[in-house]
Symmetry: C2
Subunit: 136 residues, 2 copies
């Protein structure tokens, strides 16, 4: 199948498939006489794997490791679990950070009248010295 079909089937854009190939994440497929890339069903599996990994927030470098583990039939499941749990912690940290920002801002907003008057504690906080600021 051509790259377009592989893209549709895997949910990875053709643009990204070429990019993944260029950085060595996936192996270059065969080519037709006219240089068209030709993919097999198995390549679509790999692409779906990558897609899934990306959807779960793994970077391409992490995805590369996961792919290697996936292909290594003799790897220990502990290796996979460690990588996954480390990632879980990162995700949870980032989520907590965003939540903290939202909480700070929401708190500031509750003290803002939100009417036609100009004075607003949100901007006042932004302009204040760091020591006097609401904690993020």
């Amino acid at each position: 199948m051509n790259i377009g079909e592989a893209a549709t089937r895997s949910g990875v854009s053709a643009k990204m498939i070429r990019y993944y190939e260029s950085i060595g994440l996936i192996t270059p497929p065969a080519r037709t006489a006219a240089q068209y890339r030709v993919y097999a069903a198995d390549d679509v599996h790999t692409l779906r794997f990558v897609r899934r990994s990306r959807d779960l927030g793994f970077s391409l470098e992490e995805t590369r490791e996961l792919l290697a583990l996936w292909r290594d039939k003799s790897r220990a499941s502990a290796d996979v679990k460690n990588l996954a749990m480390a990632h879980v912690r990162e995700l949870e940290e980032k989520a907590a950070e965003l939540k903290a920002m939202a909480d700070t801002l929401r708190h500031l907003a509750t003290h803002c009248h939100g009417d036609h008057r100009p004075d607003c504690p949100i901007l006042a906080d932004f302009a204040a010295t760091p020591s006097a600021q609401a904690k993020a």
Copy 2:
């Protein structure tokens, strides 16, 4: 004061100060005969404002709007509040997304032995067809 001192006092790197100037976020300061940028105390306030805005997850474009509102003494606080609350919702959405990813992954990991054996439901899920996957 020179850019270095402004950077230290505001918590914005000299590199970023120059960048903010280049994109018109902040106004170009005066220069010495030798082309050194000269900042006033007020410029440091502005930089701190930007820093604070960034720390709370606003993009530079959003920061630009906030700065404009800050400087516009006649703006309605409702405008600020609307902008802030829209951002709060964005932050909370992103946080929820990350949390969902973490939950999915954590769930998959609980079913992974995490020992020397090779079989691992995490990778199995990654390789599965989308319809059969744990929900993110």
